[in-house]
């Protein structure tokens, strides 16, 4: 136990401020954001992540968003196990034919008002997989999408920035 406490003490707080330009953007939309989050989502934003066919690269960065450096919970953002509790769906991958039904059901199970954010190049335009017998391409081919975060994979900072922009819209 002492070792654990010692390690916690030694580690301290590693959470970093976001890059200056991102911080500024957040400050600018901050007031508006707070108001919207309070009105729409009762002060916190709950996200359900849906892998609709990704290579799992985007998942690595979504995980990283939760690590101590980016610590997305400081903004009131947290991930939920069920779409029933979600305000936002973060959807990755081109939509595989085999995930189409599950994605539509997850969308239907998410209460209104909801925001859908397509994460990663494949989610935005089909990426290298494109459209084929097995892939339906971009997310918006299957469910309505409110915002896009391109990148292969997008960095944790671009993810946070994209999420803020999506709420501010």
């Amino acid at each position: 136990m002492l070792r654990i406490l010692h390690q916690i003490f030694r580690t301290g707080v590693v959470t970093e401020p976001l890059p200056a330009e991102v911080e500024q953007e957040i400050a600018e939309i901050g007031a508006r954001l707070e108001d919207r989050i309070r009105k729409k989502f009762h002060r916190s934003l709950t996200i359900r992540e849906v892998d609709a066919g990704s290579c799992n690269g985007c998942e690595l960065e979504i995980h990283a968003m939760n690590n101590a450096f980016y610590n997305c919970e400081r903004f009131g953002i947290h991930f939920t196990a069920s779409p029933r509790f979600a305000d936002m769906l973060l959807v990755t991958g081109p939509v595989s034919v085999n995930m189409e039904i599950a994605l539509k059901r997850t969308y239907a199970a998410t209460p209104n008002p909801k925001i859908v954010v397509a994460v990663g190049d494949c989610a935005c335009d089909g990426g290298i997989f494109g459209e084929s017998y097995a892939s339906l391409g971009r997310i918006s081919n299957v469910i309505p999408v409110d915002a896009h975060i391109p990148g292969c994979p997008p960095s944790p900072v671009s993810l946070l920035q994209g999420i803020f922009r999506a709420i501010a819209q």
């Binding site: 070792r3 654990i4 390690q7 916690i8 580690t11 590693v14 992540e49 849906v50 892998d51 609709a52 066919g53 990704s54 290579c55 799992n56 690269g57 985007c58 998942e59 690595l60 960065e61 979504i62 995980h63 990283a64 939760n66 690590n67 101590a68 450096f69 991930f79 196990a81 069920s82 779409p83 991958g93 081109p94 595989s96 034919v97 085999n98 995930m99 599950a102 997850t106 990426g127 290298i128 997989f129 494109g130 459209e131 084929s132 017998y133 097995a134 892939s135 292969c152 994979p153 960095s155």
Partner: protein, 523 residues
């Protein structure tokens, strides 16, 4: 002539004919009559060889018919056996009765290529879902990849358990965490799991078919997206297969840089896994600590290679990014610092009784089962199997800088954690050696696309385990077929077997200790 080759020739006599079109030349390719395909498998089984992969290739535009291939290995010996199923009778004798792992390979061949394994006990669709038309065989040349797949009514036959008090838990495809989709069907009684059946294929994106529409060079980008967390190992393995077929030798420095990236990928992913395993038994402290170290590793990647996960840095002929002398110093300093911090965490892992209570004797996967199912990688090494392609088929620089392989006997979650811990330590040592001795010179050789009808094969020890690629050029030198075998294709079978008798709440930690790829399996 290697021992497997010798044995097969002794058994089948002149019926086994050696073909010359596979590279590298030290892996023999033997053509056997179709009726003797399972005989060949039986011979291999008696030799205690493991099944590495089984796959089919549409060769109707080449020599004709469908090529049915199986790759076997024992120690450092590898052998590929081929038979041909004619177009008007696309069938071959199953080898599932000799090799249990073949049943998924064969279901996949049956589903996607339309070749029937005669005598197979299980012909349910695999990867392809029951709502696809039965005669849609996407890997056939006659199938247009742009076909919009119509949905037809169909049912999947699940394995059932009956009796008083037996109930069923369906999980997925959309899981609770930030993970890939798949479906698990449990039969349980009280808390105890009687059986687990996996149903995968949700993230099938038609990758193997997609390769056929790309150039050899673009294929490396696609290989880097077969399983995003293994981008280095997959693109490396693809490039090795293509290079061996095209007889292109990358410069020494390029091979060493590839190995440096491979070891960095191993460290980053193992850290993530150790943290996630701890998190699944509610020890969030180590989860956050391990992820701090992981983030620092990927940040150094970004600093030195401009990409956090080293994506698209490996191309046919070499690598696209060099490491400066300052870069080498920077990485050495990073490793110094990293080791110190990592060891502090390991002491905590090792001394925590409540953690130990959850991971010890949980999800035991016996050596016998691991051997039977042809398990590879960390899972195999945690169950007592001494398998590591860096030793069995060492490519430069592993021929000079030899890894010490960690083998654990217990086969439980704890053993799978310790294999990862040891491998991180070993990767740090290998990285140091590589950085001290990195040869000078070019980082990329000219790549001349392969000749027509040649085929190439390669193995790379990714962080999960042995990856295999088999590529085949068509008549005009285009990609006729690219077969990908992620370690997950074999190791998912192990998870089903390790779970019997465990309690339902322990499934997440068992699953995490295997941490297999869905995307790499579904393709």
């Amino acid at each position: 002539m290697n021992a497997l080759h010798e044995r097969l020739v002794a058994q089948l006599g002149e019926a086994a004919m050696q073909l010359e079109d596979l590279r590298p030349a030290d892996v023999p390719l033997l053509l056997v009559p179709r009726e003797q395909f399972n005989e060949a498998a039986r011979t291999m089984k008696y030799q205690e060889a493991r099944l590495v992969a089984e796959w089919a290739s549409d060769e109707t535009l080449l020599a004709g018919g469908y090529g049915i291939y199986a790759c076997f290995s024992k120690g450092s010996d590898f052998l590929v056996v081929k038979c041909v199923a004619p177009e008007d009778d696309p069938a071959f004798p199953t080898i599932t009765r000799k090799y249990a792992a073949a049943y998924r390979f064969e279901r996949q061949m049956h589903s996607l290529m339309g070749v029937t394994p005669l005598g197979s006990p299980d012909l349910r669709p695999w990867i392809k879902f029951e709502d696809w038309p039965e005669d849609a065989w996407p890997l056939r040349k006659t199938f247009d990849s742009r076909t919009r797949m119509p949905r037809v009514p169909g049912d999947y036959r699940w394995i059932r358990a009956e009796g008083e008090g037996v109930y069923e838990i369906p999980v997925g495809p959309v899981h609770a965490g930030i993970i890939e989709p798949g479906h698990f069907r449990f039969q349980a009684m009280g808390e105890e799991i009687l059986n687990l059946e996996e149903r995968l294929g949700y993230v099938h994106k038609g990758i193997e078919k997609r390769f056929e529409a790309l150039s050899w060079e673009d294929g490396a980008r696609l290989a880097g997206r077969v399983s995003g967390d293994t981008t280095v190992a997959h693109s490396c393995c693809y490039c090795q297969a293509v290079e061996s077929m095209a007889e292109c030798t990358p410069p020494e420095r390029a091979l060493w840089l590839r190995a440096i990236m491979l070891e960095r990928e191993r460290i980053a992913n193992h850290l993530g896994d150790i943290g996630a395993i701890c998190n699944d038994v509610a020890f969030a402290f180590l989860f956050f600590q391990c992820n701090i170290l992981k983030e620092q590793i990927v940040r150094t990647n970004f600093q030195l290679f401009q990409q956090r996960f080293l994506k698209d840095k490996i191309v046919p002929g070499g690598v696209t990014v060099d490491l400066s002398d300052e870069g080498i110093d920077c990485m050495l300093r990073e490793l110094e610092e990293f080791s110190k911090k990592f060891e502090q965490l390991i002491v905590i892992y090792d001394n925590n009784a409540s953690l130990e209570d959850r991971v010890r004797e949980t999800g035991i996967f016996s050596m016998e089962k691991a051997k039977d199912l042809g398990t590879v990688g960390i899972v195999a090494r945690a169950s007592g199997l001494d398998l590591d392609i860096r030793l069995q088929r060492p490519a430069a620089p592993y021929d000079i800088i030899v890894p010490r392989v960690s083998v654990q006997q217990a086969g439980d979650v704890n053993a799978r954690v310790w294999v990862r811990i040891d491998e991180i330590r070993e990767s740090v040592r290998l990285l140091r050696e590589m950085l001290y001795n990195l040869p000078t010179g070019e980082i990329c050789a000219e790549f001349i696309p392969p000749l027509s009808q040649a085929s190439g094969l390669a193995f790379v020890e990714g962080w999960r385990g042995e990856i295999m690629y088999w590529v085949q050029a068509g008549k005009a030198g285009e990609v006729n077929r690219c077969m990908v075998r992620d370690p997950s294709s074999l190791n998912w079978l192990g998870l089903e077997q390790s779970i019997h008798g465990n309690i339902v709440p322990d499934f997440p930690v068992c699953n995490k200790s295997f941490n297999q790829s869905y995307s790499g399996n579904d393709l």
